[in-house]
Point group: C2
Chain length 411, copies 2
Amino acid sequence: MTTRGKQTVRDLRRGSRSTLLRRLYFEGPLSRQELGTATGLSAGSISNVTGELLADGLIEECGSVDSDGGRPRILLRVVPDRAHLVGVDIGETQVRVGLFDLARTELAASDHPLDETGHDVGHVVDLITTGLTEVLARTGITAEEVLGVGVGVPGIVEQGAGPDAGDTAVVHGQTFDWNAVPLGRLLRARTPLPLFVDNGAKTLGQAEMWFGAGQGARNAVVALFGSGVGACVIADGARFRGATSSAGEWGHTKVHVGGRRCRCGSRGCLEAYVGAEALVERWADAPPGASEKAGLAALLAAAEAGRPGAVALLDEAAELLGAAIADLINLFNPERIVIGGWAGLMLGPRLLPAVRDAATAYALAFPRAQTTITLSRLGPDAVTLGAATLPLTHFLESGGELPRHATRAAG
Amino acid sequence: MTTRGKQTVRDLRRGSRSTLLRRLYFEGPLSRQELGTATGLSAGSISNVTGELLADGLIEECGSVDSDGGRPRILLRVVPDRAHLVGVDIGETQVRVGLFDLARTELAASDHPLDETGHDVGHVVDLITTGLTEVLARTGITAEEVLGVGVGVPGIVEQGAGPDAGDTAVVHGQTFDWNAVPLGRLLRARTPLPLFVDNGAKTLGQAEMWFGAGQGARNAVVALFGSGVGACVIADGARFRGATSSAGEWGHTKVHVGGRRCRCGSRGCLEAYVGAEALVERWADAPPGASEKAGLAALLAAAEAGRPGAVALLDEAAELLGAAIADLINLFNPERIVIGGWAGLMLGPRLLPAVRDAATAYALAFPRAQTTITLSRLGPDAVTLGAATLPLTHFLESGGELPRHATRAAG
DNA sequence: GTGCTTACTTCACGGCGAGATTTAACGTCT
DNA sequence: AGACGTTAAATCTCGCCGTGAAGTAAGCAC
């Protein structure tokens, strides 16, 4: 049973600000009139709240719409450079820091490769700090103009509670052998900016929902198909987190109980059959010594050329992927399933029809009929953008609250 | 991103009423003082709101707590017989109608068996109407004193929207061969009472969360293990529904892609291996002609006696169940998993240790460590009680709103 | 009794959104 | 050009909200 905590009369204003700000952010320039019909707020309240937002410099008037005989509507929009966002992608091979304005334009980015020995936490934190300094220096943007830093990490993120949740985020990552790493605390020592930490697959899912193939859906699953397999579940418009933020670990769903051994230590996991690493490893004719991406590309080329081993492998992958997607459909009943990740983007065009067929064969008819299965529209760099949506989400939900350190007067 | 709709200043009062009413309902008699510290509301507001609730006859004073030197605290509680609830369980073999007071005491119940030909919708609706009339007549309670009728049905329920959502509920049930049956509309023609329709497994899960082994958990999965297999997922205190309310169809999760054929038409479903029907069917030594329950009891007895075939069958069932629970743990990251259903209650004591071990072996270590796996504490009759929680939920969330037809003055 | 402690009630206050009214800013018609 | 109709936005009044301070009630200890 939903327990919505105590609310005072000021929370109403916060809610109204948030509603209008979000509407303007996602549905482009709108007049006060349109805001009124869209949100149900009275004209008076719209005037009040937009007046506040204008005074705060968060929105601005931008032209007007001609009318037939009446006063023209004045369009309002969020000021794109009123604030900025930083997204950090801690990937398997590099650390990428991106600086965005509110309109998601990437103003600068900084890449630092991670070598084999580079997964030491201190080193990664160093790279993030360096990258952050670089993108700020290169654009001349000061820390005061940044809403916060979102960090996408590989592994399970245990969130803290309260307003500075990011400061207490703890990361459990099998890939890097990170065990209860207090990433939030380590970063807090390096920057005064608000911090937001989440799993990289989840931040990519977030980006996909807001700006990619997930747009408009309130219930969706973004399946990330790369070296491993992950998923980001969106339930009723919000990330599904579970008790300790580790929900959506789809890659270790069982497709054959007791089957192939998986790197997680268990057996029969989806990832052990259809992860890029597993596919390349299982392909008898894989070019030796090639990288995972090159190996997968070779597998795809061989299948396109009709080589039986490669065709069989990909056909089986499509069936298993479809069956695992059927599980997601049965369990989560989403409107949409988006397949992303670099391997998903590479193999997607070939596999998609078979995946759809397998999902239809394995899922219950009723929920299957409610779902469309599509490919991602965003490239792999979207992890950085997705990470930047973490402070953006906070900004929009709080009704345009600026961090304490950013109390610049209205532009 | 969560879109909380427009709120007016009156919604605050509704929220406060709901908060206090829920607190009083679940945490027994409390003083105004305790309510204040528990909810964070100011003493003045507590006085106002409890005053309203007292005037509405929804709560009453019940004694006081002695104090050491100060004015004693006056205890408040929800008036148990201020309103009543009806729960209906449309089971596979019977229709059961129960009448409860607000304290969940069953005041009367009516059972009507469903024979082989009795799954016709009109017949079921007749039985519900008859049962409803019976329990009201037997207790002398009038329709005005009933908050609503909750109905638990086997099958997927497509909910309507708006305040009278139950009136437009449509049921898709494979068991009864019900295809898009407008149960809400059919019942609306028979009774003026507010209607609430949901899947029976989900109502049982609801009961388990409120009054059974799920108490206190905000993220949980209630696994229903009967003739078939289902689940009810609770995310952050609320039923997880998905886009069209069919989320949680766990029974058709794949444990062996391409494996045993299932009654859903697909292959390799969990239900095809561990459902009671499947277990009895797969047991070579099953007593011919016995009922499903008798068959399962015989299987259990044989296993307890050490008969190899039976032992192997149950051991395999435990492993598969554990593996499928591992999938739930990975995907939903719950604090608690509750195993219920009549087969779960029957086999639970024997299977539970092996199920726990299998779940540990197959799930990721981090989310597994956050979860406890327990057996249900409620009997199978809890479906009726769970169904009755549907109008109760509405009552508590609306802050104690009485249906239009029940505007009796305060007692 | 007198004083002290604690629970509860009352009341003035600032803030909120709704809805009515007023002002603003355009077309169009004469 | 100027009056008029039309629509957008701003302003104002109203009832309601929760807060917090001040006041009242109801017990105990001395």
